[in-house]
Every structure is written in C-alpha cells, then in structure tokens.
Assembly symmetry: C2
Homo-oligomer: 634 residues x 2
C-alpha cells in the first residue's frame, strides 16, 4: 500500500508536470525542425545520491563525537567552578568561552542554598553494556542495507537518539539509566531515501521516530516503553542541502535535516537569511521546526514558522503530501500545511521545505531599558505592541532574571568598563531612585535600514520613557541575547551541585500577563514548600514575545533538591501544578515548545473533544498502523 | 449522539470553567464571612433570546424586500441606459448613485460589439408556482417550531437562498429557471439555537446548508440536485450581535451572522475597526469569511481572515469545536482553526468569532500612479513588496481596465475639473510620451498616523519613479476603490444586452506574474474564438494584492454571446480552460474565492492525494451522515 502510494505520488507529479508543460508549450514558438517535445525531467537534486566528497557535515552521523551524550550542546563547552571558586566556560565556540564569570558562585549559592562542596557529578562514560541489545527487524535491516542507506545499531548511536532535553531525560542519563531506546538508527540522504525507508517500515511494521536536532523539551523523542516492534530512529541530519535559492521570489528550497546555524550561514554567503533564530538554532532542524510550530527570536520581522513556510513535502505511510503550487496565500479548503505543522512526528517525515528568505539586514543595533518595576515594563511592551512598532526582538525580564543576568557578567579586563558599570548602577539606583529589588530590564534588537532603525529606536525609547523606562545601553542588550545560547549549558552546571530546573512557556492575552506571572511564580513557591523542598526555589519569568492580542511568557524554575529522595518526581508535580495554574489564568498549553507526551493530558481542554477527534481522524487515515509511533499529542 | 455531544460540550465548558475559577480563587483573599464560593455563571449574552425590540436588522429575514432576487445587491441600485443612451446608476446608496456616466455606452458597445437595441432583459418577477413544492421533514419542522426558532417554506425565501453569484446561477434566475432549492429556511438567533438546529438535523437526517451573505462565486450554495433529504437553509443573518469589545486585548467577540458593513459601522462607533474589507463586505458575513478563508482589501495592515481570528466556535454534528483559550499564538499540535477555516460549510456552522480590532486610523490618503506599461508596473509592485513598504492597499490594473475605469467616470459638473483632466491626459500622453494603449494605473490607499502616512507615501512614489511611474493624483485612486463596490452591479447591466462575464482570481509567485497575465488572457481569447464566440471578448487583469513570495491576480472575462445557442456552456468551457492555464503557469486554484463545487476537480492536484485523504477523514469523523451536505470541496 505504501509503495503504491509513494510510487503513485511520484508518477502523479510526473504526469501533472507533463500536462502543465504541454499547456505552456502551446505558447512557445515551435522550433523550425518541428520538434516540440518538452519533457518533464526530474530535478537534478533528486537524482544525486552521493555525499559530496570532503564536505564536512556540521552534524556528523556519530554526534557523540562533538556533542555531549548526557547534557546540552558541544562536548568542548561547559561551565565549571575553578579552584578559586570562579565560574568558567570552556572551549572556543562562544563569546563567553574562556572567560571567567566571577559573580556566578555567590549568586548560585545564594539563590539555591547550594554549596560547591555538595557535588552530584554525572556518570562520565556511557556504559554500553547497560543498554538493552537492539530488537532488530532483520528483514527491514536487510532491505535498508540493499537500498544503500547508512544505518547503525551501535549502543552509543541508539542512546544518543533516545531522548530530548527534558529534565527527567537528562537526569536519568546522568545517572547512567536508560529506558527504551531505538533499536536502529538510519541516515537517509535525501527525500527519496525517506520514501524508501517509510515504504519499508510499513512493509515490515517497524516503528519510525523522526529525529532532527534532538532538542525537544516535551518528551517528544522518548521511546514509548510499551512499543514491542523494532524502533527505528530516522536521523535527518545528513539530508541537509539547500537545493536552490530563488532570488526572484525570495525563497529557498531546503532539505529538512539542515540545522539553523547552517541554514543561516549558507544563506548569508549569498547575502540572504531566513531570520528564523530559535534559541536552539545551533542544533534544531528545519523539519523539527515545521513539526513543532517553532518560533524564532526575531519573529517580529521574519515571522514564525507558519509565516515562513511556502511549501512543504512530507512522506507519510499513505504517500507524499505536498501542495501543487507555491502561491503565497490560497483558499483551497482547509490549509493542509496546518495539518503538517504541529504534527510532532506522528504523521510522517518532513523532507523538503520552501522557505521565505530576506536580504540580510544592513544594520543591527541592540539596546536595553531599565524599568522601575515589572508592571511598568509590561505596560510598555503592551503599548509597543499596540502601536505595532516592536523591534526585531523585545524581551522583558523580571527582577530575578535581571540579577541572574548580572551574575553572568564575565570578568572585565578594563578598569574603565567596570567604572562605567559602577557609574550606571549609581545613576540608576541612587540618582533615579530605582529599587534594585524591583527594577527589571528589557533587551531590544533592531535591524534593517540604518536610518529606519535609528528612527524606530527613538520611537520605542520614547514610549519606554512614558512608562518610567530608562535607556541602559547597547551592551546590556547585546549581552542578554548572547547569553541566550549559553543558558542551556547552565543547567548542566546546576545539576553538578544538586540543583535541577527547567524552562516552560505559554502565550496569553495581554490583560492576563501580570496575573499569570504573579500567580504562576507564587504557585511554584507554594508547591515546592508543600512537597518538602528544603530551599527556596528560583521562580522567575520574562515576557519574550509580543503580539497584537497577547504575549509569550517564559518561566524558569529551579531548586536545590538535597534532602529529597525522589527529586524528579517532586519536580514533575510542581511543573504539573504550574501548568494547571497557567491554564486557569487563561494561558495556552504552549506557545512554541509543543505538546509531545509531556502535555498530552491537557489536549482535550485545549482543542475540545471535537478537535481531538479531528486530529485523531487524520492520524488514523494517514498512519493506520501507527508506524510513526512516538505517541505524541493524542 | 449529537445531543449528547452538544450537551457534553456545554457541560464540559462549565466544568472546566469551574475548575479554573477554583484555582484562581486560591489566590484571592477570603471575605470575612467565610463565603468563598465562586460560581461559573453562564454569560448573559448566551441567555438572551429576545430580539431587541425596534432594532433594525440590516439584513431582514425577507431579504427580497431590499435585495434583488435575480441579480446583485440592493433592489434600488442598478445601472441602466437612459433615453439619451447615457448610463445612470439608480438609488441613493452609493457615491455613484444618481450620477450620469456618459462614457459607458461607447465603451460598452465598442468593447463588446454590443448594441443597446439588442436586449435580453431578465424575468422581472419570481414565478412562485414554477418552484417545486418544499420537501419537508415534518418531524424536524415540528421540533424547530417548538424550539421557537423562526422558519419559512415560502417559495421566495427558498429561491433566494438557493444560489450564490456565479454566472450560471444568475443567468438561470434571469431566465426564471430554478434547480434544486432549499425546502426550508431557518433563522437561528444565537449560538444555542444553532446547537439545537444541528441536533435536530442529525436526529431527523435533514441536509443543512449554512447561508451567510449569499455572495459565493464558487457554486458553494448550489443545492446538490441528487440530495433526496429535506434541504434546510440555515440563515445566520439574525445572529449578528457584537457580544463584547475587549479594549485591553483589542479584540471583539462577534456572532458570525454579522455582515461586513455592520461590523465596521458598529465598531467605528467605539473608535475601532477590524479593517477587513472584502469587495463583498456590504453583504458577506463573518461566518462566511471564516468558512472560505476570505481576504480583505487592506490586508497589508489588518491581515487576512487567518491573521484576524483569535478564537472560533463552530457547531458540528459531533459537538462544538473551540479552543480552550485566547492565546495569540500556540503550538498545541496542528492548528484546529485551520480545519475550520476553508471548510466551506461542509463541517458545521461557525457561530461566534473573536477577532482582532484596531483603533480607527487617524488619516487616510488615496493615490494613483501611471506606468508606461504593465511590465514596469508589476516590477514596481514587486519592489514595493520586497522593501516591505506596501500601503494599506496597492493594485495595478492593466491597460484594458484603465480604459474601463475611465469609461465609468461620472459626468463632472465642473468645467474646471474636466479641464484639469484634459491637462493631465495631455501631460501623460503627449508630454511624457506614454502610449495610451499600453499605459496602466496603480491605485493606492495609505492609512495611519498622518506623519507616517506622508513619509510612507513618499517612499512608495520614489520607488514608483524608478520604474517610470508618474503620480496621477488622489482622485483617480479614490475613484478606483469606490468603483469596487459598484462593479458587481455592472454585470447585471451587461446581461441586459447579451453580455455575460465573470471574475476569477489566483495567487502566484512573483516570477510567474507576467507570464500568467499574458498567457491566461491570450488563452481566453483563443478559446472564445475556438468556441464560436462572434465578438472579441473582454480579457483583462489586475495585480490586486502583494505578498513576500508572490501576488494575487484578478481576471475579468466577459463577451457578447449573441449568436450562440448555449452561451453559459461556452462560458464554462472558456473558464475551465483559463483555470487550466492558470495552474499550468504556476498559479493556485484560488487566492480567496474558494473551491465550492466549481473547482472540486482540481483539488487532488492542489493538495495531493494524501491531502485529500486528510480532508476526507476529518469530514467523515465530524459529519459521518453528511448532514452538512452542500458537497463542496471533496
């Protein structure tokens, strides 16, 4: 059935292409020799199977060669406390790399009641013999081999793809514990390879779990423990080419395994960008963005994934789904792109995407504004949204996060710079009367035409002034955004010293923002106390995106679990209560992280019983045998 | 089943509301008397059943009292040729009303080879006895009556709702011919009435066809002739209240039967607008916009319907579908709003919508630009799109439409104004060397903050100048937009004199715009010749919306059918060929008119076999007995 459909899909396209070309041919002058055959030749990129020799893939097949097997990001980059008790960040990849962060220790110990004497190191090496032997479907493996598709059932490769980055997943890995892991990993090189793999999976009844960047924080990648069939991790990382850039239409057609940093880097070489910059962009993939309805930092200019996508191809057990044209906007029934976006790996594998691209901005400018309190800051962001003059990015952090950000300041070599810092601090607190325990900071990023940026900047700062906001310089802004990429490494540091934590997010109408921030943070603190947490938790938030009708609010929650027998269970109870609180206060189930398995229980409340039925009916049609069995969403 | 589901839906909401309130109550200070019960009371608007006495509904139940039964729009407004052979427009509703249009006759006769001597008047009165007696489901009617819901099986009411405004539909009516018509018309007053009607329809197995503005041009409203059950037209026009305006979140919660002109008028009273202005806005309804993925003239500022909608309620045979919150943007699986939008009446009835509203613009300014030729005009629009500086509206018409617009100029009373016109013409043609048979015009509308509008205007005219464009004044722009609302009345005039025609549209990537315009217009002319049309047709287009990745192109096609035995059939063949040509050239099946029954045959090519299967699976789940049996889309 699958093979007919896939084959049918391809010959369908061939037939339609041929029809179209013959119609267009009617307009062309016929060549003198009477030959008027126009053939619909298959695109070169389709045919090419060979890896380009010598071309380094950013994401190697054996990811564990560059990335941590039990924590976030690159192996060569991590926080640690040196002999002097100062925090350092290793490696050479980040602006923070090789620098000393003198204030982190005091902040860490003070905030969590932690001590550098109380250590909880991770299991350093993956013990392969602790991993279940693979449950291979031999017939499937044979056919994959014959098809020339690379594969592995090596324990390290399988463990690497058995998880995302939820707390419980990383905690377990650090303990050297493994649940159900994939039995096989396959690396398709192009769309046609994926068609073949899906065909074979249907034929032999194996469970396929697509794997892009592996950055899920919704337990989406967890292998269902009840799955008895062979589980195959379909790793898209080698399917990462930009097939073409269309400068006339400002689009690019890209294979879905490409990761954000590569997509931008490659487009930049031609003077373009997508501008899609989720915090996970170093590792997350285009296919993953489509599957999870990703949002990017600069969505105010470039849009979220649903605004960026012009065309998508997804391979399903029923065949390939794709629209028949690249029109910018259509009314052709319910938009099937929206059946694909958000499907979280339950319906098929996204293989190729046409995305909008933009010329790279001429000019970029960071900024920051200090507000006397969070309420004023939110009111300012609401006004900026109402006037529809938001910069590329504008984020407001609460007082806790301001202090957190302050603690992450690298040691400055210049006496002058720290003198300036001191001056600023004096000015803001003593002279302007801002209470250091109530003030909060908004970070801003403007980009575009230089003149327009400066005009725009003035407009935003004028609005900020109406709400008691004080411009606090580019440095603070730039640092705020730079820290975005290293924050995830901090959790691993925390977990070395009994501190566990997570971020979670929501979207909410404007008039609910303050209540949600206050109530959720208060609820977290109450629940921690109730559940016996010995130390006050970190419970903090920021308004991280603005929209016409509301905002995205991002929470950090972390605590010192020393003295608890089952810290992960306590964590999960508190997180659950926090989500109940969010929903009660009018917030959504998720702005961009998605549902996965972590938030399934609230799906009915979120989309209604009829909505659930619709989603289920699509799943039952597209994938009746649950080949795409990650069991997300429903 | 349906009654359980609907009842279940309502008690679901009650239960969830109660849960949420009790959670929030945890944060409130308890009153001294210890009473802490917070009750989830049903919204007042829900309970209210009575019509407000004396409140005029813009759309009366008996629509034929104000609107034509066999043509477009208001009965009191029509074009006609007076004794002197000058065109006039009757009534008092429009700017054009009561004015003489001296140039129209010559243009009409010249363009179509028509003659005012050759008349084909419409059947003036509806012959009720020519209408089939209603096929009533007596049990259904009884229960509707007991529920207190107004209904009618009067022939006039039924015929009125048996059609949209496709050419073949109006042509038939003018001949006094009727196909299958609804057997009963019902007028729900609110969401709960709709729930009751759908429940009863499922119980008694009647076919429900939702009826909003009746402006469909996709044969969506046509009653399927093979339908043997009783067909009930569910007219939403009396369900048209703004339930609340939320100034904090800039949203309004509105009943879906409201028509565009009322929605804007009522919001304007509070200083707001939605800014959604489809050409049909005098008559089309909010529910219809949602069901067909409508687009509005000023989408560059306000967005299309998918950008405007924050929350939707739709009543289906399985129950009510609606999301659980009003967050501005979410990642909670595939977006179920996109299963509703574009469903074209096949899944249920949209009853209430939360839409974004904006403060009314401070300032509005029209404009126009003359280009030496269409190619330059398109290149200019493409550049404006690339720089992302499009005005609220920018439209480029081809030379034919420019001449058409010119022919619609009302007689000017002022000698000075016609002197100015003459001067402009001289300047443009003789002085600047524009060829009157190649030049074309773009009309523009700016709105917003006055200072910004003037800046914006300068930016756009500067770009236009790079492409040889010459500013041609506000009047031409304003007139272009004003004509938008009277164009539909012109077809009725044409049909009085052997001329039939239609508009159709597409969306297409930028690099295909010129080819599509040229090829489709040429194809129309060729096909007309092939099919024996005796006179050259009008075959004209305009670029009517710009997007990042392409544009919307709108075609007018009309011809003199004198001498043809089956003019509608010839028309349909040419339209079919035009759509094939559009698709072959990379255009979409529709930008905003939708699919209905008219374009079903191309759905598979449009969304692929798997996409069709997804849509069908949703339909089969939501409406297994095809209660919503208009047979659109699939």
């Amino acid at each position: 059935m699958a093979s007919n459909s896939s084959g049918g899909g391809s010959s369908d396209r061939q037939r339609i292409a041929q029809q179209r070309l013959s119609r267009i041919a009617g307009h062309l002058q016929r060549p003198a020799d009477g030959s008027s055959a126009i053939v619909a030749a298959e695109c070169k990129a389709q045919g090419s199977r060979a890896d380009v020799p010598g071309e380094e893939k950013t994401v190697p097949r054996r990811r564990q060669e560059v990335m941590k097997w039990n924590g976030w990001g690159y192996s060569d980059s991590r926080f640690f406390f040196n002999k002097k008790g100062q925090a350092e960040f290793t490696g050479k990849r980040y602006r923070l790399s090789g620098l000393i962060i003198p204030g982190l220790k005091d902040w860490f110990e003070g905030t969590f009641g932690a001590s550098l004497q109380h250590k909880t190191p991770a299991t350093p090496i993956l013990n392969s013999s602790a991993v279940q032997p693979p449950n291979l479907n031999e017939a499937f493996v044979e056919e994959v081999k014959s098809a020339g598709i690379p594969f592995s059932h090596d324990a390290e490769d399988r463990v690497f793809r058995a998880h995302g980055h939820c707390l419980h997943e990383i905690f377990a890995l650090r303990e050297g514990k493994f649940g159900r892991v994939p039995d096989l990993v396959v690396w398709p090189n192009c769309h046609n390879d994926v068609v073949k793999i899906v065909e074979l999976a249907c034929k032999h009844n194996v469970c396929l779990i697509p794997y892009g960047g592996g950055t899920s924080v919704s337990s989406a990648l967890e292998c269902p423990p009840e799955e008895t069939r062979s589980i195959v991790s379909l790793d898209t990382s080698q399917m990462n080419r930009i097939l073409w850039i269309d400068e006339k239409n400002l689009t690019a057609h890209v294979e879905a395994g490409i990761v954000g940093q590569d997509l931008e880097r490659l487009l930049n070489e031609s003077g373009y960008c997508t501008g899609h910059e989720p915090d996970s962009m170093e590792f997350s993939s285009l296919g993953g963005w489509v599957a999870t309805r990703a949002s990017g930092m600069k969505k105010n200019i470039y849009g979220n994934i649903e605004d960026l996508v012009v065309h998508v191809r997804m391979v399903t057990p029923q065949g390939v789904i794709e629209k028949g044209c690249q029109g910018p906007r259509m009314s052709t029934g319910p938009d099937v792109h929206h059946f694909i976006m958000g499907s979280e790996g339950t319906l098929g594998v996204v293989t190729e995407v046409t995305m909008k691209i933009r010329p790279m901005p001429e000019y970029q400018k960071y900024g920051s504004v200090v507000f006397p309190n969070f309420e004023q800051g939110v009111a300012c962001l609401r006004e900026v949204a109402k006037e529809r003059c938001a910069p590329a990015s504008i984020r407001l952090m609460d007082n806790e996060q301001f202090k957190f950000g302050h603690a992450l300041k690298p040691q400055v070599s210049s006496i002058f710079t720290s003198f300036l810092d001191g001056l600023k601090k004096f000015y803001i607190t003593k002279f302007k009367g801002f209470d250091p325990n109530r003030l909060c900071v908004a970070t801003l990023l403007f980009e575009g035409d230089r003149e327009k940026v400066l005009q725009h900047e003035k407009q935003v700062y004028d609005i900020a002034a109406k709400f008691g906001g004080l411009a606090a310089g580019e440095d603070n802004g730039q640092r705020g955004y730079m820290l975005t990429f290293v924050i995830a490494y901090l959790r691993d540091l925390g977990m070395d010293y009994y501190v566990i934590g997570e971020s979670f997010e929501t979207s909410v109408p404007w008039d609910r923002v303050l209540d949600i921030c206050r109530n959720v943070k208060a609820r977290i603190i109450r629940e921690c106390k109730d559940k016996g947490v010995q130390f006050s938790p970190l419970s903090t938030c920021r308004v991280t995106q603005t929209y016409d009708a509301g905002a995205c609010v991002y929470f950090y929650f972390a605590f010192n679990y020393r003295g608890l027998s089952d810290p992960v269970h306590v964590y999960e109870q508190v997180e659950h209560a926090a989500r109940e609180e969010i929903l009660a206060n009018g917030g959504s189930l998720s702005h961009h992280h998605g549902v996965g398995k972590l938030r399934k229980e609230w799906m009915r409340e979120t989309v209604s019983k009829v909505g659930m039925g619709m989603l289920k009916s699509v799943k039952d049609y597209v994938d009746p045998n649950n080949i795409f069995g990650n069991r997300n969403l429903l």
